[in-house]
């Protein structure tokens, strides 16, 4: 039995909720969410281009700034640093402020940080397009913008620190742990990676080891916690139910933090990196299944459905858990030999970033925006369309890329199949992936239109908390 004080529903009473809604904090959050929205649409356009290039290699190939490698890096960077890097921290800050019962401060630091973060992402994308790409997955930004991003992120995260240390009650909730972990750990991870890979690169194959650790760490220590912070905050509030296995939630949290980054080595199976790195990664991937079970058990009330935000979060949680299971299975050597270096890997990556993390962030956003902006979402139709298109898009994308990857993997393992034949075998599925990217782009546009219309239309009194 959970004592009343630590009860996940026992947030400060609604009347005492501060409004970060009023005052400068609100502008900072809206700025971050709005710019995240623009990066999201841009990244969907770039992902569409990159996806067309996979089956039709000559598409835009005479534009040097959009070679397939660069288009892919641009799409990934705009998505991870532009979309998740704005929306994730903004929602985490909002949650920390609500839990603390304090307004966002120092809002000037956060605002300046958010501005320079977006400036850094913009310069970085231009840098990638014109030849500055690092070719390190999830760290494609040219090194000259990385210190700027580091400093501006620190300025934004400072607001999270004050909200956390200034909380009126000692209790920490699950959403606290995840939000604080994400805000604190990203700067460490990011600075270590840029020093060891870009400023003073380590020797030889160690670069691949550090890059694998970073890419996995970015997912398990930053992106996933940002998404889970929102899910753990919204699910009990909207469903009105106690988290069913809250006692184990802390164990699940520490399991992710301690073991998560160790699983990155599974991508190095069979390669020139020391074999123990891959072996430990396989073990860690399997033990990490415990974390996914805990998350699933706790967030089960989200599946009861009803509210819009819950539908998104339930989809995200299901995708998160499913993705975790597939990660565990494909880490095993016998399966990795088939899926390694294929579109299947890409399917897993996209499913995690879009299906799991982004869906949870969307759910939190649908819950939070009416409370931040003080007005309900402008169009319910666009919300429904957004969910339908995005869910369909990501399922189709994962299915098509996964199947293409499976075919590609089997063909690669047969030394007599030429690469030209593999391209022909997988072409149909890759066309399907392009169709899926189109759906995702349409869904992102729905969201952006709804978001900006909501902000543009005149505030309506009263219905502030009556959000989807």
């Amino acid at each position: 039995m959970i004592p009343a004080a630590t009860h996940p529903l026992a947030g400060p009473p609604a009347s005492a909720q501060p409004d970060s809604d009023r005052g400068p904090g609100r502008c900072v959050l809206l700025f971050m969410l709005g710019s995240g929205m623009l990066w999201l649409v841009l990244s969907a356009v770039l992902a569409l281009i990159s996806s067309i290039q996979v089956h039709s290699p000559q598409y835009l190939s005479d534009l040097e700034f959009l070679t397939h490698g660069r288009a892919q890096a641009l799409a990934e960077t705009a998505f991870v640093y532009g979309w998740i890097g704005n929306c994730g921290p903004a929602l985490a800050l909002w949650i920390l402020c609500r839990l603390a019962g304090e307004p966002l401060r120092p809002s000037r630091w956060a605002g300046t940080g958010a501005f320079f973060w977006n400036l850094g992402v913009a310069i970085g994308l231009a840098g990638i397009a014109f030849g500055g790409v690092t070719a390190i997955p999830m760290l494609e930004l040219p090194r000259y913008v990385q210190p700027l991003l580091f400093a501006s992120y620190a300025a934004v995260a400072l607001a999270g620190v004050t909200a956390w240390t200034g909380r009126r009650r000692e209790v920490m909730f699950a959403s606290h742990w995840y939000a604080v972990a994400a805000l604190f750990l990203f700067p460490w991870l990011f600075s270590v990676a840029q020093v060891m890979l870009l400023w003073f690169p380590v020797r030889g194959v160690l670069q691949a080891v550090v890059a694998g650790w970073f890419a996995q760490g970015l997912w398990t220590l930053w992106i996933a916690p940002l998404a889970l912070a929102g899910a753990y905050y919204v699910v009990p509030r909207v469903s009105g139910k106690v988290l069913p296995a809250y006692d184990t939630a802390a164990l699940g949290f520490w399991c992710l933090l301690v073991l998560g980054a160790w699983t990155g080595g599974r991508h190095l199976i069979g390669g020139p990196a020391p074999a123990w790195i891959a072996t430990v990664a396989i073990g860690a991937s399997v033990i990490l299944l415990f974390h996914y079970i805990v998350v699933f058990t706790n967030l089960r009330p989200g599946f009861a459905g009803g509210a819009t935000s819950l539908r998104f979060i339930a989809f995200g949680v299901a995708a998160y858990v499913l993705g975790g299971l597939v990660d565990g299975v494909t880490a095993i050597r016998g399966v990795a030999v088939l899926t390694q270096f294929t579109h299947f890997d890409e399917a897993q990556r996209q499913f995690a970033l879009h299906g799991a993390a982004t869906m949870m962030l969307f759910g939190t956003l649908y819950f939070a925006l009416p409370r931040i902006a003080g007005r309900p979402w402008a169009s319910r139709g666009l919300v429904r369309g957004h969910f339908a298109l995005y869910a369909l898009g990501i399922l189709l994308l994962a299915f098509c890329l996964g199947t293409a990857g499976w075919i590609q993997g089997s063909a690669l393992n047969d030394p007599k199949t030429a690469f030209a034949d593999i391209a022909i075998l997988t072409r149909g599925w890759l066309l399907g992936a392009t169709a899926a990217q189109t759906l995702l782009l349409a869904a992102d546009i729905f969201l952006a239109v709804n978001f900006f219309t909501t902000l543009a239309c005149a505030p309506q009194g009263g219905d502030k908390e009556g959000a989807p």
Binding site: P57, S61, Q72, V133, V205, Q207, W213, V258, A273, D345
Partner: protein, 230 residues
């Protein structure tokens, strides 16, 4: 979980654990790996990249070649890498010690390039690679912006690509590689890992030893091979 400082220490410890294990651990194992001096040949391996090839590696990186090509050969029996003729042996850590930007890659939409200059029975020559870059082939896009379409003044340039069919330039014109194309091709032609390091020999097929434990110090640096060296 009530204590803020304790929570923060926990976060630091969780982060430090994987950092120490993976990053510091592998660094202790491989960070000072030396080239291998072959007494009979009187040369050390691997060789350093010549200047133009080092410049070509930057072109390889900034064009994003790694998004379709890997540079790692897995051991015989794990995938078809060796059967496809990508190399006679698996890649080992020592192959990469002089590479400033290691490009192991993550996708095989195109073939592996670890050993493209040492392929058997026939490795592509500079002309083949230039034509491939200029025209593309199959799933490989054309990188025609790495070439100049120039008017022939007097004689045809020595460097001009010998093209036929749809790629043939208009009469009186020639296709000449830019410096970047030359550097990129020099780099690709430097990719040759035919030297057999002792650690690259497949382990004798005795009963498999238990998997290595995550205690990096247990492996002295020279024994740091790939998967076969368990």
């Amino acid at each position: 979980m009530k204590s803020g400082p304790l929570f923060f220490l926990g976060l630091a410890a969780a982060f430090g654990f994987s950092f120490a294990g993976i990053v510091i651990g592998s660094n202790a194992q491989l960070g000072r790996q030396a080239p291998f001096y072959d007494d009979s040949e009187g040369v050390s391996f691997p060789a350093r990249l010549p200047g133009s090839a080092a410049a070509g590696q930057l072109a390889y990186r900034d064009l994003g070649c790694a998004s379709c090509h890997t540079q790692q050969v897995r051991r015989a029996g794990f995938g078809s890498d060796v059967d496809r003729g990508w190399g006679d042996r698996q890649s080992v850590a020592r192959d990469y010690i002089y590479q400033t930007h290691v490009q192991l890659g993550w996708s095989r939409t195109g073939p592996d390039l670890t050993n493209i200059a040492g392929r058997k029975p026939s490795a592509p020559d500079a002309g083949d690679l230039m034509r491939l870059l200029y025209g593309g082939q199959g799933a490989m896009p054309a990188y025609s912006f790495l070439f100049e379409d120039r008017k022939i003044v007097g004689q045809v340039s020595d460097d001009a690509l010998r093209l036929a069919g749809r790629l043939e330039p208009a009469p009186g014109r020639q296709i000449v590689p830019t410096d970047r194309a030359r550097e990129l091709v020099d780099y690709l032609l430097s990719l040759n890992t035919t030297y057999d390091y002792p650690e690259a020999q497949p382990a004798p097929a005795v009963h498999p030893a238990p998997e290595a434990h995550p205690a990096p110090v247990a492996h002295p640096a020279p024994a740091a091979g790939g998967e076969a060296k368990k």
